[in-house]
């Protein structure tokens, strides 16, 4: 039954339209020899969904279509905008339109890169400054120096 479902799918598409490779086509055909249900399905699909379209005759093109096209083109010519034409010509001269997204991506990457670099430099400068400050604090071991830095507040005297 599952095989029949698969075969029916192929009948509705690739088998009917000649899009199957030889091996698969052979598999479908051997199944059809053994399965009357799938044979009936094939016949119904052909008769109801394919043959009417295959038999359809092409309509002759109305002669007035060419006149209508020429008239439309003439009107289009009168109404054409010289600025738009110029822009079209410029666009044609740009041979690499597909490079625009690549260029945009590159610019974005450059922007993100420069922001990150700036940030890193700033952080590095800050770290250096903080380090220097800590070193300066630690290096204050001489009481005389402490005295020199003394602002004379009572709390300072308490701790020092």
């Amino acid at each position: 039954m599952k095989k029949c479902d698969h075969i029916k799918d192929l009948i509705l598409t690739d088998y009917m339209d000649g899009e199957l490779d030889q091996d698969l086509k052979h598999n479908v055909e051997s199944h059809l020899l053994d399965c009357s249900d799938c044979r009936t399905f094939l016949k119904e699909v052909k008769e109801n969904s394919i043959i009417p379209f295959n038999k359809d005759t092409q309509l002759p093109v109305p002669p007035q279509l060419w006149d209508a096209v020429k008239e439309g083109i003439a009107k289009q010519g009168h109404a054409s905008d010289p600025i738009a034409d110029f822009i079209d010509r410029i666009k044609e001269m740009i041979v690499f339109p597909k490079l625009v997204p690549v260029f945009a991506t590159l610019m974005l990457m450059l922007f993100v890169g420069s922001v990150t670099l700036n940030n890193m430099q700033f952080q590095q400068a800050q770290a250096t400054e903080q380090g220097e400050y800590l070193v300066s604090l630690l290096s204050i071991t001489n009481p005389a120096q402490v005295e020199n830095n003394d602002l004379g507040t009572p709390i300072e005297h308490f701790f020092l």
């Binding site: 969904s49 379209f53 005759t57 309509l59 096209v69 083109i73």
Partner: protein, 184 residues
């Protein structure tokens, strides 16, 4: 659809109306008939076909010869016809069940009558499908395009072509089976 030389296309793109007439003659039957079957009536098909040729004339100068000219025409025609059918979703055709159900006229033995009968049948069957499905069926079963060409013309992948054809054929089968069942 006939193949065209690059020379003709270049001349047509430069505004040579004689060359453009060659382009028109090579493709008018395809454009008009696809438009007719997708929009499903003659007056609208004229309008769509005129629009398609005006677009071809206008855009020919931007055609880069990287893809096939035929595929380019298939794409413009299919897109315009589908968009027109979607915008004007009115269906002027008589639904299948009314035309070919009980009481419908049996096909005549005369060839012309048979052709007309078949043409009406096709019109009614296509009216059962949505414009996207209709375009797939028209390009495959009437114009005989391969799945690959249909995929390129409609700018969809091959599996979408497959699934649209499958759904369309299942739908048509069920409509006709329903009518046959009601007749019995």
């Amino acid at each position: 659809m006939e193949d065209l030389s690059k020379d003709v296309l270049v001349r047509a793109s430069q505004g040579d109306m004689q060359a453009f007439e060659v382009v028109y003659k090579a493709s008018n039957s395809f454009v008009y008939n696809v438009a007719f079957r997708v929009v499903n009536n003659r007056e609208d098909a004229m309008e769509v076909a005129q629009e398609v040729f005006m677009v071809i004339h206008d855009k020919l100068k931007t055609f880069r010869y990287e893809s096939s000219f035929k595929t380019w025409i298939y794409r413009i025609t299919a897109n315009h016809a589908i968009n027109f059918a979607k915008k004007n979703a009115r269906t002027k055709t008589v639904p299948f069940e009314e035309s070919f159900g009980e009481g419908a006229v049996e096909s005549d033995v005369h060839t012309k009558m048979e052709q007309e009968h078949n043409s009406n049948l096709v019109e009614s069957l296509l009216a059962e499908l949505n414009p996207d499905q209709r375009a797939c069926v028209v390009l495959r079963d009437i114009q005989g395009l391969s799945y690959e060409d249909i995929a390129q013309a409609l700018n969809i992948n091959i599996n979408t072509v497959r699934s649209r054809l499958k759904r369309s054929r299942e739908k048509l089968l069920s409509v006709r089976q329903k009518v046959n069942y009601e007749k019995v």
